[in-house]
Subunit: 160 residues, 2 copies
Amino acid sequence: METLTAAIISPEELLKHWQGHRALTRRVIEAFPEKELFEFSIGGMRPFLNMVQEMLAIAGPGLKEIVTGETQPYEEKKNEFKTKAEVLAKWDAETEVINSYFAQLSPEKFHEMNNLFGQYNFPVIQNLMYFIDNEIHHRAQGYVYLRALGITPPPFWERY
Amino acid sequence: METLTAAIISPEELLKHWQGHRALTRRVIEAFPEKELFEFSIGGMRPFLNMVQEMLAIAGPGLKEIVTGETQPYEEKKNEFKTKAEVLAKWDAETEVINSYFAQLSPEKFHEMNNLFGQYNFPVIQNLMYFIDNEIHHRAQGYVYLRALGITPPPFWERY
């Protein structure tokens, strides 16, 4: 199979790339004042909190589904937060969940099909790249919110 | 080398992924009214045109450098546009430039170091993923601009 002959990124590199992005997203969450994290929006869009809830509903649960084969419907509202500290604590807990499940992915798994959340049937590698892309996409919207609030966001290129 | 033993994405898949994102970015450019593409901004950020100029200054020129080994300094302002049609025409021309240079990348090349624009010394695969991530990041800022203008952006998941 063509896709299995040319190796341009390893699972370890993809995980490092993903967690690097997640570390940056964590700093973007931190940069929001608590009230604005929960309430501020532009153009009828969601507050950044709700975008973070989407990221949390996708990353850990999606990866768990891929690894265990147990499909659960997509559930965004299952994480309810009252404070920014609670959001950050959940973010950190999911970092470990992702590391733990990712370590259980065999290299062959990345090209198997997975019907994500019982709805989106794509190869696992495409599921994972979508998780990362979607996080970059919504985090960047948080960057605009921060700028509109007069707050300088963390540099995009810092991933640690 | 660990990174060369586990193949989870092929060069062809990465190109398809990249061009899928570029097709979406093209639709975001198209969605802007001409005046707002050049002028609208939020929170002191650049107009979307200038973000597109950044994407154009990175993608084709960066890939050309990787393939040819000829380093040129990063030059954002070399694409000067007077109309949205000119921007879209340049975007389409760069699509072909990218396809053409990408076809010249050997699989081994992706883990060689490249000092991008004489400044950023990273493995080629990291250069390329940065190109894509940076485009997603700025395009998402364009999404907020469009929403603030009362315009519905194209769906994030459509890549063709």
